[in-house]
Symmetry: D2
């Protein structure tokens, strides 16, 4: 354990010296963790008073004492006795009267405090910081999608030009996926629970003092902390709650990573459809001053590369022997790193998307590159619809001809003798699509509007907007 | 591609030659996959008829043709043209009249069919086989928990004897965790969706034929297949739905693995509290005929070790460039292996738990090993409650004395001079706990009853019981 | 266990029905596994004869019997007695005389046979098939690198145009990384070992028959099978050998995946520098007949996405309790799937690279897109070298001017007043680079030659060429 | 970026506030990283002087300047210009004369410095701290193995009593596996390389100044830093070198985790064969003062659970597009965390193993629990050897009789009529094993001696002892 105050640069973890989110420290730092645990010890004694186990005065004394405890005090004591929670309890005991001492931590086991504190601070960090940051990004994307809902862009599958969409429609995909993750994260956060069932979960100690120890547990967690108790627990809360919560975070991170991948591909020199905002003093490369690199998009994908595998840790932490072993202890201390890294990436995307450069000219230029081949699909669909028995194969051959002769596909198709009898049946609208590929954009714009509206409504209903 | 019918032993994957679940083949085999895709092509044409695009007679013809297609036909065609869905379409086209040909697959893109087929068969496999198998195990555990709710067992934390529980209470933990996963899996299965939005998701092709292509999509998926459409899609359905579904499966697998770990520890030679059922002809070891190994518990943990990391594949599959790339294609073909491996493990646990050997004598014997130390906790709690200012530390020292002198802790405590003033305040019940450690079991039995009842009710409400 | 001969399409694992490599079945199928184990039982008895434990005649009889055993026989027996190796032994016993029976499997434990068989077949599969396939790809890349060593291509970092390289130089990177992996895999394959130390590794049984049981182990493994024994073992071989071997495979797979990623980016519609070979009948898209998708490159990356996480399984398999538990048993049965999937991907790349389409015109065209900016680096380096105190910053500003005015960087630089005093000091060669960006290619061609030669030599020295 | 000096408890990462290894900070902290990079910039200018590019005086000036740079200076500049290496260069430029400025960082690209600095500091950290810590543990285990080489212990497979070993023999397994990892880590550390090939790896810039830029690279890396150059590189060093290095670390961590798992199982209340040393003031449990938990063993397994999945990050970092993308940048900044976490765990094991409590009495007691069944194997082996046609099956039935009648296996066997004709052929030694199970320990002690000696020699030869 490192007891001196380090320079931020004596640190090893980039989460602290490079990707820190100041506002999250109050929930996720070790100091915060100690404060949450101390607070819970205070609430415990307060609930004792409610049940007549101790006097309100004693409860007040303990609450007062716990409100001033610092991590450094606890670590000092822990270095002697090698037990994290007993150290905290000793520090509290040192600060209360002999009369109050018996009502500190009584009938509690360490993990009644630790697991409850983690549930509480993960919930607070998520509700107060992470979800709002995610909603902020959702709003930026909704605005972007609406603004660009008619901006024609070539849809790409396999990296190849496929069929037209609009840029807003492409963004609407992320509006939908991200909105879905926001609600998923809200649900799994709401499912985080606390416990006060003792060392093996059977309320062995608390049933010495209370007729109905489950009722005491409910009151302690609910009124004091706003949490529900686990349906049943061992020394620890069933791990699936936190596992689901982390899955929410990591699968959200995946959506962000996919967005970043897309954007950095669209920023390629040959494509140039979007660009990160670039500050005047910013240096793109130490040797190539002309470079404008998508460093923020790369950063986000890289953070995901680092933190995504943490799910394996969570799954391994599901295995705890009998009424618990401690092999989930160190590993779960790293959960805050994931939360901060994720939020740091969300904020980065907020900064970038707030001023994302969209190059409509390049979108148009790229669209026109293979414009004439785009009508292959509507052509074969309409030929088939109007009775051609083998339209797909026939159009495929016309394409080959187009490649070989250099003539455009519309030109070849409209003058193809065999097709005349079918083309006659085409409606005007259908003929227009065949000759003007950019019309072949389906309901991209309408869908963009509909989806953005849908998520506005849903997030408002969930009181997140 | 391997076209000959192999002996099961020419195979490479143990899922097929060793851990296969026959009843799942109708959903998860390649033959099943082809049948699902063909069926969807049939339903598509049927929905065309509903919308007046083709006649009911044509629809009937296509449905009839698609109902007879075999994987071998499709693979033969695919080996020529290197495209899985076009091969399927060609095979259908070969079997219908020229009149019907234009209405086969029209306006569909491959992944309208593939993604919808996967959603459908994963849903069917889960609802018809996997969830019922999970519920069967839940019932076995509920019965076991109830039956053993009063069987005293020493609770273990860190592998060390801690405080008493009952064996039923230990099982009730799994009743709760497993029940929770069953409902979680049901939810994520219900969230699997289909799509019919074309090659880039903007309904480019289908909007050529339909005023409201979304309405067509809804009808096609809902009436024909019982699925809802994705809110918006690219060429593919947003990946989060399947990712959540697989997280449900793998986190359920983790509960099973934890149970297996616990049981094989309880089956250790020195502990001997449970045992796998053992058939008369079964051989425990090729060289040690006396061995009775927990091979089924080991098997389940091993299958989890193999399949748990598949989540990383799912997270990587969240990244698909632009309107999709194909890097999720091979990898998602392996999802059925995970489903079958999981179900195979659930069934194995059903077989074992149906006849799990519980050795109450050994549970009692083990409990008694450290019986006298067990009262340390109630002793210190009650001393504190009755006013001792430093009870935890005081009792810790009594323990040390107990270790050094060999005297039992109750003996030492009850005769300790300094404690007499506190002991006088103990109620009879409290004194009884101090002298009879097995009474210090909290509300283990009541909680077991309550939790088993809770899950019976919840599963009935979810119509899974 | 599935005992009927399935249609290849009743299967669940794509490795068998879709990505199978026929030549690997003799090593990696379950049939092959049984044959390897049976062979080892035969060699064991043969070694007994060498040590005078049994007669050569008996050894011959056992060898003969073991040479004809089929997996189906063993599985039939296993279904009765639930023990894989005892089933094999029983099948052998059924086929030898009473006189020979005592010398079958005597003093062996199951994993003497299983672990040795796996080491043997992984080694054979790697040396006979996988390494040669890898070397074949290395040769194709060497040829390609040499052929294209002078083909100018824009080097890309962050997806942005950076400085010139040649296409051959880009390929030479893969020649080097792949060659390095080939040698790494050879080393880890050579490190695979066998064992014959019995149920807990202390030669308990074999020391009943042999004065020096380690000498017997060495002879059995070496003369009979060409393997070395583990330095020491429990019931199983120390897991690090196989773990290193799998790390070799997976890290090789990563090189392949990187190559595939690069190629499919170079095949993007806007870039078009390379293309997969495309057969005449091949269909690019079921709805977009014009598409030429990089499906093989996507396939390889997808297979890597599926199989890369298997390393987690290997690391978990490092943990085996005491003298072993069985939680590595099922999971290690899946190792052959990884080997086959990898080789299948190598072969796919061999097919593609054998006829990779390189579009030098597009390479040139793309190079010229930002040609004028390329000289930024040599300009600032040479300015600095010739005494400019702040060359990097100065050139960065010239670039900004170039963007704003549309004038080319060379034009701006050569006419910049402040720079004249430095430009005068430039040599002719240096001035040439400033005006002809394609000259700024460093030693790309020489390095390509050198590296390809290096790996030819190394692979020849390792007798792999 | 967090610029204030934090309290250690405002931190998020436990690596810094809880598991820090002070001695590693000089290599792994951000301060150290900056210092390494600055040093390399100094060595670069020094090598320029050697090649006559600048004067020795200038080189001296730059070396002097770089030796005093602090991370805080660089971070301050980076916050302005958003480029890590350009910021470092600017800080150097600020501290040297105008005459020297042109020779700072000239022809270098950022990753010439970054990748080389990482190779260097990982090498130094490993050679100076990690490997010596590992060797220390190896020595402790060798001592322990030798000391306990004759201490009888029951060998356990599947958690079940199997055949006798000695405790020293069990430890010798770890001596062997750990020794093997030490050499593996040494090899992969020695394979870490540097680079000086510029922005796309073709020596574009350096070939402006040097006839033979590869020769300059070799001299710069070798004489200045003791590194070899990569055979060929892009902007970055081929990733396989670091990937292999991390695989060495993580697979070593796995050996540690396996040891920890074994020890905590042996410390179970019912087994009690080993114990962690326990300080007098240490508290085992906040509520159960009697507990002695294997917290250090649990801690080590937990750290492994956290850091093992980092390999997935490394494998993902193998994919870098074209001449590199930046998605490996943040993620590789976390590599030092893994190194420190590993070393912290090695040190923890050193502390524990230095005073591991071995309870020979309990080992004996546990051994005796099933002592009589132990002879099953030698009995059937010797019966077979002496001609019994079906010895394994026959002995298996005797065991059943033993379970049913409660008679010991030797008793039943020696009085079995059918066996008399075989028993007569037993040698005295063979009869002794049958009646005295603890003799059935094979060559456990000899093997322990041999293996410990082997590793002493090998480590001495590798100059690590």
């Amino acid at each position: 354990m490192n007891k001196e105050a380090p320079s931020p640069f004596n640190l090893i973890s980039p989460t602290d010296y490079r990707y820190s989110v100041k506002e999250l420290e109050q929930y996720l730092s070790e100091e915060a963790f100690v404060k949450y645990k101390a607070k819970i010890e205070g609430v415990l004694t307060k609930t004792f008073a409610k049940y007549g186990i101790c006097t309100p005065k004693i409860a007040g004394e303990v609450v007062q004492a716990t409100s001033q405890i610092m991590a450094s005090d606890v670590y000092k004591e822990e270095s002697k006795i090698k037990h994290e929670i007993k150290a905290l309890v000793n520090v509290i005991l040192d600060r209360v009267s002999d009369e109050a001492k018996p009502f500190v931590h009584t009938t509690a086991t360490s993990y009644d405090i630790v697991d409850t504190a983690n549930a509480l601070r993960y919930r607070d960090a998520t509700k107060n910081i992470i979800l709002p940051d995610m909603v902020k990004l959702e709003k930026l994307w909704i605005d972007l999608a609406k603004r660009e809902k008619d901006t024609i862009q070539i849809g790409r599958t396999h990296g190849q030009h496929a069929e037209p969409i609009t840029f807003g429609f492409a963004i609407a995909q992320y509006v939908n996926r991200w909105g879905n993750r926001i609600l998923n994260l809200k649900t799994t956060t709401d499912n985080l629970v606390g416990k006060f069932s003792g060392a093996v979960g059977a309320y062995n100690a608390s049933s010495l003092l209370f007729e109905d120890p489950e009722s005491f547990e409910r009151d302690f967690l609910d009124e004091g902390l706003g949490l529900k108790p686990a349906e049943i627990s061992t020394q620890i809360i069933p791990p699936e709650g936190v596992t689901d919560f982390i899955h929410s975070i990591i699968s959200s991170f995946g959506v962000l990573a996919n967005f970043a991948r897309d954007m950095r591909n669209l920023q390629r020199s040959e494509i140039g459809e979007v660009g990160e905002p670039f500050e005047e003093d910013q240096v793109g490369s130490s040797t190539m001053p002309q470079k404008r690199n998508p460093i923020n998009f790369e950063n986000v994908e890289s953070m995901w590369i680092k933190f995504m595998p943490h799910i394996v840790t969570m799954y391994l932490n599901q295995i705890s022997e009998h009424q618990r072993d401690l092999t989930n202890s160190c590993s779960q201390r790293y959960t805050p790193e994931l939360l901060m890294a994720f939020d740091s990436s969300v904020r980065r995307m907020n900064r970038v998307c707030n001023n994302l450069q969209v190059d409509r000219e390049n979108m148009k230029k790229n669209f026109e590159l293979n414009e004439d081949k785009i009508i292959a699909e509507p052509l074969y669909v309409l030929l088939a619809f109007h009775g051609h028995p083998n339209a797909h194969e026939y159009v495929r051959k016309l394409i080959m001809t187009s490649y070989q002769t250099g003539k455009s596909l519309p030109e070849i198709a409209l003058s193809d003798k065999e097709l005349q009898s079918y083309l006659k049946k085409f409606s005007n609208m259908q003929l227009e699509v065949i000759s003007t590929p950019s019309k072949y954009v389906g309901i991209a714009a309408e869908k963009t509007e509909k989806v953005t509206l849908l998520w506005e409504k849903r997030l408002k209903k969930a009181k997140l907007w």
